[in-house]
Amino acid sequence: LEAKDLTISQELSHLERRSKPPLIAFVSLFLLGLLISTAAESLRDYTGLWNKREEARVTSPDGLVDAVLLRPIRYGDRSRISLHVVPHGEPVELSDVMVDGSSFEVAPAIVWARPQLLLMTYDAGCIDDLKTVWHSYWVNGGRYYVELRATASSMFPCLGVGSKPSFSARTPR
């Protein structure tokens, strides 16, 4: 009986060794997961862009980059805007955003004060997120920066004075 037990235990350990998946299976599945997550992100960007139109595209004085203002076409709040900087003539990547705003019934004015200095002027609107410096490794050998300066012409562009504030609730970040 002991000999039989020994044989079974040897057989079990042999089976365990034999049924272990090869390393390539682990690597392939990891890469498949990574690929699916990247594809999902690209798809989200693509479908997001499908619902946006370029309200303005302004080329910088040196012709190297464009400032692009987007607004939803059909779905979602049409008073939302987003401002992007892209290499000249290139499509927008939604994840690379300089300004994300809401309650912009009138689009902000976008002007290049000089190469690398972008001005955004607005009278009414809420800024939900803003970054002031943009950089790309694809422009001028990776040594090209753009600074954004956003200026409101009124004292209370988001809340308004004497009017009902129009911005939505924010959660702590």
Binding site: L29, L32, M155, C158
Partner: protein, 165 residues
């Protein structure tokens, strides 16, 4: 024989679960890495200034968050909190790197100005409310850079605007 076949079944189930785990790590790897990064390299913040609103309902607080790996330097944050409460209970309305001469000024009980000589702003929102159902208590926030043109980039001898060294 039944012992060997049930062991084989157990082993293949274990392998299947390990393979599934590897797939999920690939799928959610970016989010997991970010979460782990935040846990392992938890940044410390310290309050460096607090300015109460004229009606003393809120405080604007400026904090410095250290850079745990020393790659980007410290980050400056502005948070608005109910008067006298801890800064970490507030909502962030501004964050920047490389900030020089930061200044918080209340131009009225509902209007806060964030002044600076230099800053690379990573996040800014121009409105804050403690309660979405009480919008009368909301605060508008304005940026007030002292420089008329560039506030972060500097024009070099070749005429190109670059970040400071």
């Amino acid at each position: 024989m039944s012992r060997t076949s049930s062991a084989a079944r157990g082993s293949s189930l274990k392998n299947g679960l390990v393979l599934l785990a590897v797939f999920l790590v690939g799928l959610f790897g970016q989010g997991l890495a970010k979460g782990l990064w935040a846990i392992v390299l938890e940044a410390e913040t310290r309050e460096v200034g607090r300015v109460p609103a004229p009606d003393a309902s809120e405080d604007a607080v400026i904090l410095i968050e250290n850079d745990p790996i020393g790659a980007w330097g410290p980050s400056w944050q502005v948070r608005i909190v109910r008067h006298g409460t801890a800064a970490n209970k507030g909502i962030k309305v501004f964050s920047a790197r490389g900030m020089v001469n930061s200044k918080l000024v209340w131009n009225g009980p509902r209007l806060l100005e964030v002044g600076y000589d230099r800053a690379r702003i990573d996040y800014f929102t121009n409105a804050w409310t403690p309660d979405p159902h009480r919008l009368a208590t909301a605060v508008e926030i304005r940026l007030a850079p002292s420089a008329p043109e560039f506030s972060y980039l500097r024009i070099g001898s070749n005429g190109s605007a670059d970040p400071p060294e």
